[in-house]
Each structure stands twice: as C-alpha cells, then as structure tokens.
Symmetry: C2
Subunit: 451 residues, 2 copies
Amino acid sequence: MTEPGKVSMEKIVSLCQRRGFIFPSSEIYGGLSSCWDYGPLGVELKRNIKDAWWRAVVQERDDIVGLDAGILMHPQTWAASGHLEGFSDPLVECKNCHLRWRVDDLKDKNCPACGGELTKPRLFNLMFKTFMGPVEEEANVVYLRPETAQGMFVNFQNVVNTTRKRIPFGITQIGKAFRNEITTGNFVFRSREFEQMEIEFFVKPGTDEEWFNYWLEERLNWYVNLGIKKEHLRLRQHAKDELAHYARVCYDIDYLFPMGWAELEGIANRGDFDLVQHTKYSGKSLDYFDDETKERFIPYIIEPSAGVDRSALAFLCDAYDEEPAEDEIRVLLHFHPSLAPIKVAVLPLSRREKLVEAAKQVYADLRQCWIVDYDDAQSIGRRYRRQDEIGTPFCITIDFQSLEDKQVTIRERDTMKQIRVPISELKAALAAKLSGEDLFVLPPGGQIWKE
Amino acid sequence: MTEPGKVSMEKIVSLCQRRGFIFPSSEIYGGLSSCWDYGPLGVELKRNIKDAWWRAVVQERDDIVGLDAGILMHPQTWAASGHLEGFSDPLVECKNCHLRWRVDDLKDKNCPACGGELTKPRLFNLMFKTFMGPVEEEANVVYLRPETAQGMFVNFQNVVNTTRKRIPFGITQIGKAFRNEITTGNFVFRSREFEQMEIEFFVKPGTDEEWFNYWLEERLNWYVNLGIKKEHLRLRQHAKDELAHYARVCYDIDYLFPMGWAELEGIANRGDFDLVQHTKYSGKSLDYFDDETKERFIPYIIEPSAGVDRSALAFLCDAYDEEPAEDEIRVLLHFHPSLAPIKVAVLPLSRREKLVEAAKQVYADLRQCWIVDYDDAQSIGRRYRRQDEIGTPFCITIDFQSLEDKQVTIRERDTMKQIRVPISELKAALAAKLSGEDLFVLPPGGQIWKE
C-alpha cells in the first residue's frame, strides 16, 4: 500500500501521460510552458468532477442557480474589482538583456541569465490582455478574466430579476480563467490557463459568519464524500497580513499534494466589497430589497472558490495506490465510482467469434447508460491491471459458460472479488453498485468501500 | 400557432433576457460588443445540448473519444494550420481618423465616420493575440484558439498511443474559441467568444467519401432527434471558390433562423491537409500504421463542426410557439425533454402550510433526479404559463385532495393534458416520460410528441 500522501508527482505525471489523462499542451511542438491538454480519460474525469459539483451545488439544492458569463468582460469590471490596480507581482528587469524576474525568485542582485544589473522592482499585472476590434490601441484593450467570480457579481441584479430567488441564495459558475503567472509548476497545480468552480453566496449582513461556517463544512464534505481521505485535508486561516483586499475572513482548504500541503479551495467572506465597487463604477444600484422585512441592504458574499484542475490532481493523487499482486505491483486508482472516467469494462475471455458476439452485445447495451470500455487484447489478468490503473470500478468478463448459462462475472476493482450475475440483471446490478450511495460511503480514512 | 421559421429575433431576445436565458455581457457597464452571458436557464440549456452531444458522440459510440486541449496553444500550431497567414479579412484604414473598415461593408470610397480618404485594403488577422510571460514582445505572442480542431490534430498521436483506438476513429472536443470578427450580430449567432463542438474523424484515404456521407446523415439526425423540424434544416454544398484552403468538400447544415437560412454546422472533408502540415512544422511523424493490413498511411479527416451557441439559438427558435389560450396568448417553448432547462415544476395549489409541506417533500425528492423548480406565487394558471414560457415539460400540482389520497397531478406542457398519479409512483412516471425515447420521437415535421 502506498503510504498516505506519499505518492510522488513523477508517478502521477507518468501515469497521466501513459494512459491519456493529461498531456503537455501542443506536445509535438515541444509543449507550451505550463499548459496542459486533457486526454480521453482526463476529459471524462474533469467532466465527472464538474458534474458532481453541479449536482451538489445546483441540482440538489433549492438556493443556488448557475451562470455562464464570458471570458471576455467589459474592462471596467477589472477597474471595479481592483484587478487593474492590485493584481500584480513586483518584477525587476535586467538593464543588459532585458529579461524580467520576480523579486522573490532572485538569489542575488544580478540577472540570473547574464549577470547584468537589475532595475528597481516594478509592478507587473497578471491579467492577459488582448485587443478587441481591428485597432491595437489602449481603447480596445480587453482582458481574459483572471477569475469567474466577477461575472456573477455584475449579473447579480439580472439573476434577482429573472429567477425569483430571495436572499440567502447563490450563483455558481464553472469556467476557464487565465493568469499570466511568473512562477508556475507542480503539474496542473498552477498553470496559466485553468478552470474554476465558484459559488457566490449572497446573504444578509450579520448572518455572514454563520453562512461562512456552513460553507466551510459543506465544501470539506464534498471532497470527503467523493473519496478524499479526511487526513489529507486541512483548514488553514489566512493571517491578517495575507488577506486579499476584498476579504474579511478567508480559509484555505489545503490538500496534502505530493509537494506538500497546498491550497485546493479558498473560502472567503467578501463582505459587501464587490457589490459596492460595481455600484460605484457602473452607477447601477446593486442593493437588495427584502419583501418580507421591507429592508433594503447590500448583501454580503460568501465565496467558495475551487479549481477543477487542482481537484483532478487531488483526486488522482488520493486514489493512487500500489499493492503487491502475483509477483508484480498492482497499480490502481481507487476513484469514487462517480468520478471514474470509465465505469465498466467489458472483457471477453478470448477472441472466439461467439464470445466476441456476446460481449459486443453486452458492451452496446451498457453504453446506453455509462461510459464503457471494451478490451480483448492479451490475457485477462493484464486487462484487469489496465483497468485497475485507470480506476475502472467494474470489469465484466464473458466466458464460455456465459454462452450456456447467460451469466457473466462482475469483478470489483478494489477487492478483486468476483460475483456471477445473469445478463438480464446486469444493468440493474451495476446501476445499484454505481449509484447506491450507501454502498460506496468510505469508512473514515478508508480506501475500500463496503458492500 | 407561430408560422414555421417566422418567429422574430426580437421575440427570442426579449424572452431570453426576461426569463434569464441570455443577458448582454457585463450589462451594468453597457455591455461588451457582441458578447453574451448565459443566465440560470441558458446555462442549463447549454449544458443539456453539450451533454446530448457527448452522449451521442462519445458514450453511445465505440469509435470516438473526448479531449480537452488548451485555449492557449503553441504558436507554431497556427503557422501550420494556415491561420497565421490566411485567417484574415481585408480592411482599409482612414488616413484622417485612423478607424478601420471592412471593404465589403463600405458603400463608397470614403470613411463612413469622417469622410476621410481610405488606404488600400490590408489583411487583418482574426485571431486574438496576447502575450505569455512578463515581456510584451513578438517572441511571447500566443493566440486564443480560433477553433478547437487543432488541439485534436496535434494530439492525434497521443490518442493513438494511449487508447488502442484503431482507424476509423474520431476525437471530439467541446470548448470556447475566439475570433476577432469585424462584423458580428444576430444575437448569439456570431459573437467574438463562442463555444464549439467538433469531431475530427480519422479514416483511411479512399473511404473518406463514404464516411463523409455517413456524417452528413448522422449530424442531420442529431438535430431532428432533438426536436428541430426537418423543414427548417437544409444541406448546402460549398462552391469550389468558397471552399476553405484545407477542405476537399464541405457542406453546411443550414437552419432557418429568424434572419434567414444560415450555417448551423459545417461538415468538411479535410483530406490529409492537417496531419501533413503538422508533420511538416513539428518534424514529428503523424502517420498511422494499420496492424492488420500492415499499411502505413496519413489518415484523412472528416470534420463535423457545430456551434453550441448557434445550436442553442436554433433550439430556442424552433421550440418557440404562441397559441391562443383563455383570452390570452400562450407563449411556450416546445423543448425536447432532454434539452429543457427545468424538467419538472412543483406547484402547491395554495400557500397553506400543509400543502407547502407536502409540496416541498415532493420537490426535495425529485431534485435527486432532475433540475426542478418550485413556484407558489400567484394563480396556478399564471404559474403554468411561466413554466410553458421556459419549456418545462411537466408541472406537478399538489392540491388538498393530495393530502387525502396521496396522489398528485402531472400536467403536460404541449397538450395541457393532466393525469393523476400516486406520489409513490411519481418519480418512475416522470422518468419514463422524460427518458423513454419512444414516447418522445417527433413525427416528421411535428411539434407535439406522442403519448
């Protein structure tokens, strides 16, 4: 068994590339610095994470609605949010070779590239800028959003007016954001293009502390319910001097990544900062009238802000395991069934025509319900290993006896237990195993689900 | 009944803004030219369209896998693809006020803004450019992808190596793309930020014509199966002089939008253009070895390329209907159940405590399965109208009798027919109505499903 929190990043990166979870972006051109492409399995993992978010945050609740605002927003948005002024790193430039460096990355006072003299630090904005319209001039500058949050603030009044939602309620958005980071790395942990899942939850001032605590617990439980071990999660409160300009209180949900504890999600009490700022810059009132109490106020905002890529990395690291099996090491991903890219693999025992025919029939039938794989290459043992390594919860084996008794074998990833099931009952059996929550609740700190 | 293809864009735009499908981007700042934000209902519609695509293209097939490549790609990608050289519009600049204009938009030879003299036309590239890293210089220029296709071409070998897929097979990707169009408009039909759904289907040369025809039919049927009326779709072949530089043959699937017939999806036979170009520019071989025939060849590519936003607009327009009902006009969206943003609305007949309690119970129970709305404001008739207008297929009414007999009323959107169902059987009844394909196959040209 891999020691908790001890899987190396090299093993994760290697598995991701070898099996098609994540590739370096534009790899045939040597890659694009710290950008990543999700392959066939990675895209399914990401879809499952985002679907689990949407299900927990929108579908199963009665107080949050979704939104999908543009990546390109009106530039005034970033003046109001403080990003134009404050979203920057101090950089120095070499007077000789003109390369720029982050001050905290420097070991001495000279240019690491050529040894030249460096300028005094200047602020460098982390937003990617581009030009909209045919003329490249200041008036046409727009930015790639550095966070999805602002799209929800500027649409607050639109949502109130069109949905009949009353405070307390929230808006959520999943989408790409871009930051021109100087220091990137740790695989998909910090990249310049990334995907966020954010909630902006609007509450009455005075109730904000209570809601903040509610969201801390709610968000922690989301990860635990999807299989992250409790001992790999911790809460860390931001110190006063590290608080962002908009935040009254902020906690990080840290995960024990291979490189150590690092932020998986941030939960902030933003107070009324955002709605006040956007009111000031737009001249449009963003206050709220409570029909019942006849009070008018500017809501406070509690913001859980998670990363899809960081979540994917955390779920991969937490699921990774190695265990001895028949003279070799069995590598497996203990993915929660709802996150597993492939739910079921159909494996005919051999390539004999009759077996293949029966197996293809089962394969076609199961594809109506789930993402299913089919594999008839090499020994059944090697095929099980291939599925274990990508976290497929169930393998269905069709053997010669299946042709006689119309039964197949379901083999479980974690226990390697096998049970025999009539083909006519296969779909229902798998549905119960894949969706029955009581079947898959992880014991505290445990990796293997109960049956 | 609204005459087919005759709904006005004004009505669609108005409905979209009034009910929270689509808002102008950054509206409180006066909007950002031709960019749009999807509101709570719009984001569900888009999710449903993308899920329907993924289900039909990835899940239900055995020969297509997904991918999610970056929006930022290595700049050499765009040299190889031809976009750096060829993806441009001819523009003229006013020598006096320096505004630029598209040649085909000009009525005479002077500047429409100031009357000044215009330069000769120069080519203006439609890709948005930005700078990666701290220095804004030519070496750091990267582009926002103008199409998702290239991410699939540059990852062709990665997918072959990691998935065991053999030709013929495809890769599909859904994601944002950006084009700095000079002429935008017709609501979300042409905007600068948009979302694509593309398939790159790799085939053996010589079989490409057959596969091209296969995909034409397959893609047409996807729209028809999701409720688009056949008479609102047509195929249009590109003339020789309008063919893109990469295409051997290209057909548009046109839809009869309010502004007339316009491209909903393009299907192109790209031949070996893309893999040859990327081989040339990257120096990496992108050919394919067929294990069975022992042949080595460069695959041809058939590309169905659809737009999420255009599909959303088409589904909205096609679903829109007005019909007389009780002295007023009933506005309704005949969405296919799988596309409807809200599947079920729960409506207690009044706000009496016992009714609300029972209704909330049903609401909580149904949310486990679907996106469900709850509405207890105003008369039941008005509430039905509100749900009709956003295309909710089923309303559940809980009345006083429900408290006695534990039965509720299911009211159907299109027929306004009502049936009484025991609460214990409600979920199963709705599941059958929402997912049973035989229940919802549209008769050719018809708008109302059979029961």
